[in-house]
Amino acid sequence: MNTGNRPLSPHLQIYRWQWTMLLSITHRATGIALAAGALMLVCWLLAVASGPDAFAAVNGFLGSWIGRLLLFGWTWSLLYHFANGIRHMFWDVGLGLELPAAQASGYAVVAVSLAATLAVWISGYVAAGALG
């Protein structure tokens, strides 16, 4: 197949790193992380269906430090992917595509996802009664 006369984009290494491209690849990375998180959700649902012993085993893992670290990462991944996904929806209808707007919405997505992650975890500990 002759593809020699078709245009080719410059390679990624040509570009100076900037926020918008970092946020773009982070959307994809969090998507991959969330696919693994979906696997955990299936395990958790199966444990609920299997009974108290299986549930205690899965909960024990999720309550361990590595389990909490994973859950914290999944929480942020979900909230980032959620917020940035809404940013994509605005782009899909043609809003906010200019560079200043795209950069501002990018900062907003990072700030909102981090703040929401902390809010979720504080609320979770309060709901569990761990903070009195």
Binding site: L45, F55, A127
Partner: protein
């Protein structure tokens, strides 16, 4: 300049008329996942520290069970569309690429059915 390759012209390959279907389904599932994700996150906070009996009672309620089934369906549909694009971007060998996509699609469907079965088992 035509973007079509000579071989495509020779074979008469044109549009399969489903070029936007993947994009559209990804957006449709994303829109569905906006309220479902909010519900899921709020539910997880509500269930923090809950024992098996409380979680099972929560999952068995009709509203929870239906929302969880919708979440599972939208999540796994969205997930396999996203992973397909990633595979298409980074796996270059044709056999490996097709193999990975088949694997992801079958595994996603099987996991979604498994999760749905778990929800129904608790609910009924």
């Amino acid at each position: 300049m035509s973007m079509r390759t000579p071989i495509a012209r020779v074979r008469g390959l044109g549009s399969a008329k489903n070029g936007t279907h993947h994009w559209w389904m990804q957006r449709l599932t994303a829109i569905a996942l906006v309220p479902l994700t909010v519900w899921f996150v709020v539910s997880v906070i509500y269930l923090a520290g809950a024992d098996h009996a409380r979680v099972a009672a929560w999952l068995a309620s009709p509203l929870t069970a239906v929302l969880m089934l919708l979440l599972i369906a939208a999540t796994f549909h969205h997930l396999q569309l996203g992973l397909q694009v990633i595979i298409e971007d980074y796996v270059h060998g044709e056999a490996a690429k097709i193999g990975c996509i088949i694997g992801v699609k079958l595994a996603s469907f099987a996991l979604a059915v498994t999760a749905g079965f778990a929800v129904l088992k608790v609910a009924f």
